[in-house]
């Protein structure tokens, strides 16, 4: 079995987001790029499954739709343990465009399991995994918190509000990964970094594909008015303010 992990290249979570060009472009200056946190968890779980002898997973690949600035992030994925990386060389315009590119790749390169993150921490679309499953015409597991494979049988947990479902299904499917799928994301070790240099990073040209939306402009939130401090000895004042001023209690 083969697993494909979709990787979104996003600004480090500590980044103070800024814009240039009249709020039309994200300011890249000084931004550290990382693997989207959920994609890192998905990749970690895929590698764990490959290492575990109880199943027949023999290949873990990563794929990204992006420009060459994403290569460093793909190299990191290889260093963590992916066998092969694919980059579809395009400036992604919207989630539909990204999913369509990956779906096109999958037509000639089938995988049994495709994993994506629940959300990309940049554009917060929560879309690519679901779109991909529709292009592939296969089931998608949203909010997947557990993935076990034993002798070809797939068991999955899906988080639902206030609990979880335990599911059984057959491949192919798209798993949309939520926190809990594994404990800790793996960090590349020295040996992994050395080995990553020899692993293939294939760059493919994009196919002609339309996008359905685009961003016109960005905006930063307005700063909050200053915080009203309440003396810890007079907490009834806080309760009164919450009731009469903020009207939230």
């Amino acid at each position: 079995m083969k697993i494909l992990v979709c990787i979104s290249n996003v600004p480090d979570t500590t980044t103070k987001v800024k814009f240039t060009d009249n709020n039309k472009q994200v300011d890249d200056a000084g931004v550290q790029w990382i693997i989207n946190p959920w994609d890192e968890l998905a990749l970690t779980r895929a590698i764990e499954l490959k290492e575990d002898g109880n199943n027949s997973i023999d290949e873990v690949c990563v794929i990204n739709v992006g420009l060459s600035k994403c290569d460093a992030t793909l190299r990191k994925a290889l260093a963590i343990g992916a066998d092969k990386a694919i980059r579809i060389d395009a400036d992604p315009i919207d989630a539909y465009y990204v999913a369509a590119q990956i779906a096109d790749y999958l037509k000639n390169n089938p995988f049994d399991i495709v994993l994506s993150g629940i959300e990309s921490s940049d554009y917060n679309g929560s879309s690519v995994g679901g779109m991909l499953s529709e292009f592939m015409d296969c089931p998608a597991i949203s909010s997947m918190t557990k993935l076990e494979i034993e002798n070809g049988n797939v068991t999955i947990h899906r988080a639902i509000p206030g609990g979880k479902q335990i599911l059984e299904l057959t491949t192919p499917f798209v798993g949309i990964v939520q926190k809990g799928i594994t404990n800790e994301p793996r960090i590349p070790a020295m040996r992994g970094i050395m080995m990553a240099r020899k692993k293939p990073l294939e760059v493919l040209s994009a196919v002609e594909m339309e996008s359905l939306s685009h961003i016109v402009e960005f905006e930063l939130p307005v700063a909050k008015a200053s915080c009203k401090m309440i003396d810890a000895e007079h907490l009834e004042e806080l309760v009164n303010l919450l009731k009469s001023e903020a009207k939230v209690l």
């Binding site: 987001v17 999913a99 529709e134 939306s213 939130p221 915080c227 309440i230 919450l242």
Partner: protein
Amino acid sequence: MSVIAFAKNWEGKFKKSTYELVSYAKELAFRLNTQTLVLSIGEVEESELEKLVQYGADKIISVDDSRLNILSSRIYAEVISQVVNKEDASYVILSDNNSGKAISPRLSVKLKAGLAAGVLDVPKSLDPFVIKKQVFTGKAFAYVQIDSEKKILTLSKNSFGIVENPTSLNLVKFTPELSDDLFKIKVKSVESSDNKIILADADIVVSAGRGMKSADNWQPVEDLASVMGAATACSRPVSDDGWRGHEEHVGQTGKVIAPNLYFAIGISGAIQHVAGVSRSKCIVAINTDPEAPIFSVADYGVVGDAMIVLPELTEIIRNGE
């Protein structure tokens, strides 16, 4: 041209977020000078469906097939797209919750309709169609233009509000064509955690961080939550260390929430934490350190030891009830 709102039910009942969704769909339909259709999938009693009339549903379409009582994004997307095509609707609105997030991308591909996820407002302009959404987990907003003829929006909770706009009941049934092949995923079992208030739905959230010092110190947090009927939440290190379950983790890599009132107790206010709660209407911070960054995003602050402040606050609220 019409607007369709997908009204998800939970065991046959709608939630406040459903009423907000219908209110929003009505406003959009009003601006577009068209009809507001509301689609319900799965078995829901007529008295429950009728409640949607209060918020402006011109027509309610009910697909009351018992096989559809459990959500499957694949089947629901198929049903919605059949209704969209039959009604020749141009706009589909879903709530930006688990189910909306699961269905809308599939629907987008089926209908070749551009999707704006997590919209925060009515459109800035209708032609071209431009709408405000959250990006970078609350650190910024983007105005997205949808270029396709059909359009899909998922609405962020607490971004529009519930608006009454009564119409009269016009209820129709619809029977979709569904192949057996679609019913492939087998749900072996469902486990629900105890009867706690669901974080994503809660109007009030009491959240605590590493400042509580140990998992054993959570009783005051639970007590404050229970006296207000609030849900509990926590910062990431608290769930990473297993003090609380993962489902309580809020922030950039956890749940993004927008309650009316958010208590941040013993939480320093790291950028990744704040990203997940910044859309709360009102934030109260309780922290021993007057310099803690959480105070710069809070509306009200108390400098003090949570182990002392929380029990007192709980008492005051309990006595004021």
